[in-house]
Structure formats: structure tokens, C-alpha cells
Amino acid sequence: MRRILSIVAVLAALFLVFGCAKGEAKAAADIVKFGVFEPLTGANAAGGAEELDGIRLAQSLYPTVTMGGKEYKIELVITDNKSDKVEAANAGQRLVDSDKVNIVLGSWGSGLSMAAGPIFKDAKVPAIGLSCTNPLVTRDNDFYFRVCFIDPFQGTVMANYAYKEVKARTAVIVREVSNDYSVGLAKFFTDSFKALTGNQNSILAELNYNTGDQDFSAQLTQIKSLKPDVIFAPGNYTESALVIKQARELGITVPFLGGDTWEIAEFINVGKEAVEGAVMSAFFDNDAPITPMSKVFVAEYQKKYGKLPSGTAVLGFDGYILAIDAIQRAGSLDPIKIRDAIAATKNFAGAAGYITFDANGDPIKSAVIKQVVGGKFIYKTTVNP
């Protein structure tokens, strides 16, 4: 008797689970899934967290998308790519295979985006990169777009700054050699700096380190005897902060320049006084609004999180609202139509500037230059392409 009862109970349970799953499937028809593909743990966790903040803010302001006169609720499917290229490919696969998202937002970190790019392309799921600046992310991939400028431009901006503002004639490069972003940006800086100085030997040395390294004393000791005018050290925020801290401990007083990945609170928290004076290119400044949406973003961000937005949160916001705009213009969830709608974006007013895509899926945007002064990122100037 007991056995029969238990079988009945199991069957009832199965029925309940099955029934519920069916009910959910029905509801799913009114939902649009945005896959969030970000590093939430590991070396790049702070970058991913910033962008997720931007995306969540946008969702709280614009929770729905309208197609054919009908409102669809937007559901965020958040995956952690763990700051690791292998995990990034797994996370990307999960988003397209089991979560079946309609569009992907992310990632912070070009290498992570590049690891999952072919997966999104093969599955025909459109993806909007947020702050992945390496040109290879969108190249040969019709489904990958991005809302940030790219490294050839960023490298030129920083080389110009080094040459004209710092009046540097020699430089040393410190690269995070396992990071595609860092290697790419260092190369564009090198090319541009050599052209500006007219000296093929103006880069005195290229020194390498790995993501996750903590001790850079051996590399930096070599720089000390080279006596460059400037050090260009694009890389992850914590490693870069430790590089600068250890350089100052060794008595190296040369100015440090870097890229967009530095503009994260952790860079200053870890580097403290050592990173004072460090100069970096960045995407956006709260005090230099570009579009009407910029002001909305800054005001709403402060209301929701009680602090000023920093770093790349604005790009998470822009990626989200661009995705809504594209889906509404496509008027359908057909991935090809969404992709074509994104590609056809003209003068879309995001919070961090107007977006019009070129043939590769990259927007032309201006960069701002910031410097760490008094423990804050202070706006210096805007550079237009």
C-alpha cells in the first residue's frame, strides 16, 4: 500500500513540475531575453559589475520592448564568464543553447568577447559588445557590434597625449601579455608613437606580465635603468595599479599612461597615492554630457545607486537601450532582422554619445582623457576622431 502511495506521490510531483514548466513556457511568449555576458568573478570582476549596474539601471527605466503594438517584458539572463577565455566560450554557449537568449550584451574585456564571438555568430544571435575595444571583436563577425570606440583610435589618442602633452620622446611599454586588449592597444600606441617621434627606436623596451601576476619588481627594475620619458601600461585595473605602486616603490617617477580599463574605483583603491597623476583614455565623463540621454543616465544612476557613475557603467546602459531600439525597429525577434536593424542604426542617442555603425559594426565616438587627481578621476579633455 505504502509503495503504491509513494508512486502516486511521485507521479503527482512530476505532474506538478511538468505542469508548471508548461505554464512557464506559455508565459515565455511575452518575454524577450537579454543575455548578459560579463566577468562577475575573477580578475575583471569589477569591470563586469560596473557594466551590469548600467544594464540594471536601464532595465529599471525601460523594462519592456514593444513589437507590433504589443509590450514584451525584458528578462535579463546573467552569466558569469569568470574573466577566463575558456569559461567565456562555455558561458556564451550556454546563453545561446540552453537559455536561448534573443540578444547578448557584453563583455567587458576584448579577449572574453573574442572567445565567444564565433559562438554567437554560428548560433546567429546578435551581440552588442560594451567596452571591448579590440578591433578583432567585430571583424569577420556580422553578429557582433559594440557601443565603444576601438583601440587603433585609443592608441593614437594616448600616443598623441604622450608626445604633445607629456612631451615624451621615448617610452617603455608594459603589457599584460595574456590579454588581447592590452597587447592590441600597446601595438597601436607603439605604431602611432613611432610615427610621431619619427624614431623607430623611440620604444625602449616592451615588458610583459601575465593576468593575475602580483610581483612586477623584476620587470620594473629593468625600466629604471632605461630612463624613459613615459610608460604606457594598458592592462587590467588591479595589476596596473600594482605595477604603478611597485614602480613608485622602486623610485621610478616617470608618468604612467593607460587605457579605458583603468577607470574603475579599484584602480585608485589598490594604487592609493601611487596612482596619483596617472593618465588614461576613457569613454565618458559625467560633467561633459554629449546627448540628452547623458543627463538622464547620470541623474538616474545617482538616484538608484547613491553615487556618481564611474568607468563603464554608461556603456552597459547604452548597450541595453540600443538593443531595445533595434528590436523595436526590427518589429520581430527574428535574429537576422534584429541584426540588420542594429547595423542600420543611425545617430542613435546613447548616454555616451551618438552611435552610427560602420561596415565592421563599430561606432565612431570621441574619447575623453582623465587623470587621477586627489583620489578621483578628473576630466582633462575630449578628443574627437
Binding site: A205, N210, Q214, Q219, V270
Partner: protein
């Protein structure tokens, strides 16, 4: 390489090596007594750093009280870990305990991500340890002067405890034969707990020193130092406390030398450490100072 550069690199190597040595001591001691490779050692190291961080920033303790509290908590955690994850498996094959250690390691890391968050934290600056000291052209952080002293101090203290105290005698007895030690009225559980407490305390001490030198904390920060110190312990002869110190220094010196003399190969710095591990295991599996043991069948 000119002379100041050479001396600076030497200082860099010794300060990195002494840090490796400090963490390797605890690793090797636990192995020496219990024949257990405690893969969670690196994660206990991480916890030590976080405990100190929270004691100082959240509970606003002066740094030295914060350190004492953090070290006590780390030691207690080590004892609890042994009670929960290793003691129930003491009579099981060694492989089961090792798998349990790997599981404990993953559990602590992921709990760390959930509790402490994935974003890195920065360790507060303590002036005594965070001052730049210069000797002519050579400069270093003051914490780098303390670390070798603490390492050598721990080495001497542990050697004295193991060789010249009643507890040490019991530890050696447990190491030789657990059952025989129990028959000789040695409280095995107490001795094992004590060993784990001391081993974890040393891991915590290493964690605190590490974060003062490299002031950023994240829940996965213990993985690489844990592996490096495992390598250091194996090079020196796992189970041998003096060997761990020797191995730690050697590993630090080799890592700095690779970057100093072969800058093009910097990206393979970690790979060199693991190649070294393989070479040692192939050529001299007992390590530099380890004794070869005959296995009783």
C-alpha cells in the same frame, strides 16, 4: 646588468622568495605530520587576509589587534576544516582525503565569492609596513624587511616545537604510526587539530604579509600562491620544514632571474615554476632535503 640593478633584483628575489617560503612552511608541516597534501592551504591563506581586512576596516581594530584576531580565526578555521573534511576520512585511502581537500578548496573559494563578493578589495595601508626603505640605489617596501625575519622566526619556532617539546614528540609519533601513537596514549585527534591550527595560522600569516605587499584581495587570490608554495615545498622535500624555506627562496630567485635575464619569456614565468616541479619529481622526487622512505608493504 650594472651593479645597482643586480642588487635590486637580488632584493626583489629574496623578498618574493621569503614570502613563498613562509606559506610553504605550513603546507609542508601538515604534510610532514599527516601525509596529507592540504590543497585548501591557499584558500586558508586567502581567508587570513580577508579576516585581517575586515577586522581593520569593518571592526576598526588597530592593525596589531586585527592581526591577532585574524590569525586566531584562521587557526580555528583550520581546526574546523580538519574536523569536518578530513577527520571522518582518516582511515580511508589517502586518495579520498586528497579529493576531500580539493573539494574543500573549491567550497571555500566559492563561498568566498558569495560572501566577500567577486570585486577585489584593497588592503588598508599600515605605515609601519607600507613605507619605502632605500639603501643607496636599492629600494624596497618595509614589509619586505619583516617577511624574511618572520619566515626565519617561524622556521626556528617550528623546529623547536617539533623536536624539543612533548607536543612535538607526539606529532612525530603520529607522523610515524598513528595506531602505535594511539596505543602509547597520544591523543591523536588533539595532535592533528594542533598541527592544523599551526599550519593554518602560518597560512594566515602568509596571507596577511602577502596582501600588505600586494594590497588587493579577491576570493581566488590563494590559488596561485598555494600552487607556488606546493612547488616550493616539493622542491625542498615535502614534509621537511627547512626544505620548504629553501624551496621558497629558490623559487623566488628563479622567477625573478627569468624575468631579469630572459625578458622575452616573462609570459611563461608560471610555466617555468611548473616545469621545475615536474623536473624535481622526475629527477629527485624526495626534493633537495627530503629523506627517501621505504614503503612498508
Amino acid at each position: 646588468m650594472d651593479l645597482p640593478t643586480f642588487f635590486q633584483q637580488l632584493v626583489n628575489a629574496l623578498s618574493l622568495g621569503s614570502l613563498y617560503a613562509l606559506i610553504a612552511i605550513g603546507y609542508t608541516m601538515v604534510y610532514g605530520i599527516l601525509r596529507l597534501i592540504n590543497f585548501a592551504h591557499g584558500d586558508v591563506f586567502m581567508l587570513g587576509a580577508y579576516f585581517a581586512f575586515y577586522a581593520i576596516t569593518a571592526l576598526l581594530m588597530p592593525w596589531w589587534i586585527g592581526f591577532i584576531v585574524a590569525l586566531s580565526l584562521t587557526a580555528l578555521f583550520g581546526i574546523a576544516l580538519e574536523r569536518v573534511a578530513y577527520r571522518p576520512l582518516r582511515d580511508s585511502p589517502r586518495l579520498s582525503v586528497m579529493i576531500s581537500a580539493i573539494g574543500a578548496s573549491f567550497l571555500i573559494e566559492n563561498l568566498g565569492i558569495v560572501i566577500f563578493g567577486g570585486r577585489p578589495k584593497s588592503f588598508p595601508s599600515i605605515p609601519l609596513f607600507d613605507t619605502v626603505v632605500r639603501f643607496g640605489p636599492v629600494s624596497m617596501l618595509s614589509v619586505s624587511l619583516f617577511i624574511p625575519v618572520i619566515t626565519i622566526g617561524s622556521l626556528i619556532a617550528l623546529t623547536l616545537i617539533v623536536n624539543h617539546t612533548k607536543t612535538g614528540l607526539a606529532m612525530r609519533a603520529v607522523s610515524t604510526d598513528v595506531d602505535a601513537a594511539r596505543l602509547m596514549a597520544v591523543d591523536v585527534n588533539k595532535i592533528v587539530a594542533f598541527t592544523f591550527g599551526v599550519g593554518s595560522l602560518l597560512a594566515g600569516l602568509g596571507g596577511i604579509m602577502w596582501t600588505m605587499k600586494y594590497p588587493q584581495l579577491n576570493p581566488l587570490m590563494g590559488i596561485m600562491p598555494g600552487l607556488k608554495c606546493f612547488i616550493a615545498a616539493v622542491i625542498g622535500g615535502i614534509g621537511n620544514i627547512g626544505g620548504a624555506v629553501l624551496g621558497g627562496f629558490l623559487l623566488g630567485i628563479i622567477e625573478i632571474l627569468i624575468v631579469a635575464f630572459l625578458p622575452a619569456l616573462t609570459g611563461y614565468r608560471d610555466a617555468f615554476a611548473f616545469v621545475l616541479l615536474i623536473v624535481v619529481l622526475l629527477v629527485k622526487p624526495t626534493g633537495l632535503l627530503g629523506k627517501s622512505q621505504t614503503v612498508k608493504v
